[in-house]
Amino acid sequence: MGELHLIRDVLDEQVIDRRKRKMGKVDGLIIVLRKDQPPRLAYIELGMSTLAHRLHPRLGDWVEALGRKWGARQGTPFRVPWSKVHLLQLDLKVDLDADETPVLNWEKWLNQHVIKRIPGSG
């Protein structure tokens, strides 16, 4: 593969796990600065607060506070090391199982507390 444009080819792309389950979009990129070395892309970040921070810092703080209070134990964004990311044609596949990460906490909480209690849900 030739060039990789981080904003065009990585940020906001769909992330799927190793079982092709959707985990979310790439909401943020974490680049670490190293002394006497070029910056390095370390993680992709998934989470509502990261997304909200990109729209407006205050909105980000607000979502983060809400997440800490009611966030189904998902107050902080989830980081995936860049080494676990594989680029597909338009999506990003990560070498993880979504069920073992916190990205589906809200989905599971909603399922457990609301959806499963409604008749005919499964």
Binding site: D12, E13, Q14, G24, L55, L90, K116, G120
Partner: protein, 405 residues
């Protein structure tokens, strides 16, 4: 080959049955009553535009395996997409309320019980079908029942219109009276036909049906023939309204008046046909808009989504349509006039069209997504022209309509 032919036939039949919704009925009926055949051109222009847009959204999904919302966020980023997504979400909720209002009014016409009382039962029935149904049931089921809307086409022929006058309406002409209202109705017709929910929903449907490049011919046939024949139903409404209401100087200010448009052709049954057509057309459209709202939310945020899965498999998606259906129905519970809401929403749609469609056009010219199946200059040109026209008409006509009352 036989499978392709079946898919095409099914697609065309469902497009015809599903073509009418509350906006198309209300705007065509008002146009016919107030201006006779003079606004036929607006229906034709809107249909041409929607054929191109639906074909494009099916092509995008078949080639890239991405829905329109997915591709928009991925291509333009969340900051850019926030405006078109929010605008679309807002308008879709209003459209959903108007469609639910259409079903409630149909029930009011038949039972005499005032429409706000029907809002929650209708919302519950909608939700139940979404909860238990599959994409196929929702896409094909209501559209087959929707074929009853062809009664407008039959009625148009029964009334023997002067086809010469009808033909004159194909070309735009200036109105002799109520100029502001004429342009407002033209804008509302364009907004009703070029409903963004239609092509957003279509791209999600193509993914649900697992379309690939082999479906490009099917896609083109469904978009062209399905939408083309579908618009005959809208034209049928306009023709019947023009022949029944205009000579008597009657305006369609309420659905109760519109309900009488078929009685001249079919007697008492005409009233029943109108109510059932309105109810089924709006119910089918309400299902599509509800799903579209949930699809859009899930795709913008990268959640799992599919109407073919049990709700437990995509809890956030199922919760989304549940919230949207009941929230929209509340607008009807409080008794907002469905006809006014419909016309306002359709005109508002025309205003947001450039916001939604220009990024779509850019996407359709992106090699990364479409490869050699990118748009040609004809698709780009036609869409730009019609959307530009609808936008200019909208920003001129809406303030005039509001000032004129």
């Amino acid at each position: 080959m036989r499978k392709k032919a079946f898919e095409i036939t099914l697609g065309i039949v469902t497009s015809i049955g599903g073509f009418l919704d509350v906006g198309a009925i209300a705007t065509a009926a008002q146009a016919g009553a107030a201006f006779g055949f003079q606004l036929v051109w607006a229906i034709l222009l809107g249909t041409i535009c929607v054929i191109f847009l639906v074909e494009m959204s099916g092509r995008l999904a078949a080639v890239s395996k991405h829905t329109l919302v997915d591709a928009l966020r991925e291509r333009f980023g969340v900051n850019f997409c926030l405006v078109p997504f929010t605008a679309e979400l807002f308008v879709d909720v209003l459209v959903l309320a108007a469609e639910i209002g259409g079903v409630c009014l149909a029930l009011q016409l038949i039972t005499g019980i005032s429409f706000p009382w029907w809002a929650l039962p209708v919302a519950f029935l909608l939700w139940l079908l979404l909860w238990k149904g599959t994409f196929e049931i929702i896409e094909n089921g209501t559209s087959f029942f929707g074929l009853i809307t062809l009664c407008f086409v039959v009625a148009a022929f029964v009334l023997h219109p002067l086809w010469k006058l009808f033909g004159a309406g194909v070309l735009p002409s200036l109105p002799t009276h109520d100029k502001a209202h004429y342009w407002f109705i033209a804008v509302a017709i364009l907004g009703a036909l070029i409903s963004p929910y239609l092509f957003y929903f279509y791209s999600s449907g193509a993914i649900e049906d697992k379309w690939g490049k082999g479906h490009l011919v099917v896609n083109r046939a469904i978009a062209g023939l399905g939408m083309g024949f579908g618009s005959l139903v809208s034209l049928g409404v306009l023709v019947v309204s023009a022949l029944v209401f205009q000579p008597r100087g009657l305006q369609v200010d309420a659905y109760e008046q519109a309900a009488l448009m078929l009685t001249e052709s079919f007697g008492y049954w005409g009233f029943i046909f109108f109510a059932v057509s309105l109810g089924i057309a709006c119910f089918g459209a309400a299902l599509e808009v509800s799903l579209n709202l949930a699809y859009g939310t899930a795709q913008a945020l990268g959640w799992n989504w599919s109407e073919n899965e049990h709700p437990t498999q995509d809890a956030r998606f199922s919760a989304s349509y549940t919230v949207f259906v009941f929230a929209a129905s509340l607008l009807m519970v409080i008794g907002i006039d469905p006809l006014k809401l419909t016309l306002f929403t359709m005109a508002l749609t025309a205003v947001i069209l450039p916001l939604v469609i220009i990024p779509f056009l850019i996407l359709m010219n992106d090699e990364r997504y479409l490869g050699k199946h990118r748009n040609g200059w004809i698709s780009n040109g036609v869409i730009l022209f019609i959307i530009g026209l609808a936008f200019v008409l909208a920003i001129v006509a809406i303030p005039l309509e509001i000032i004129g009352g």
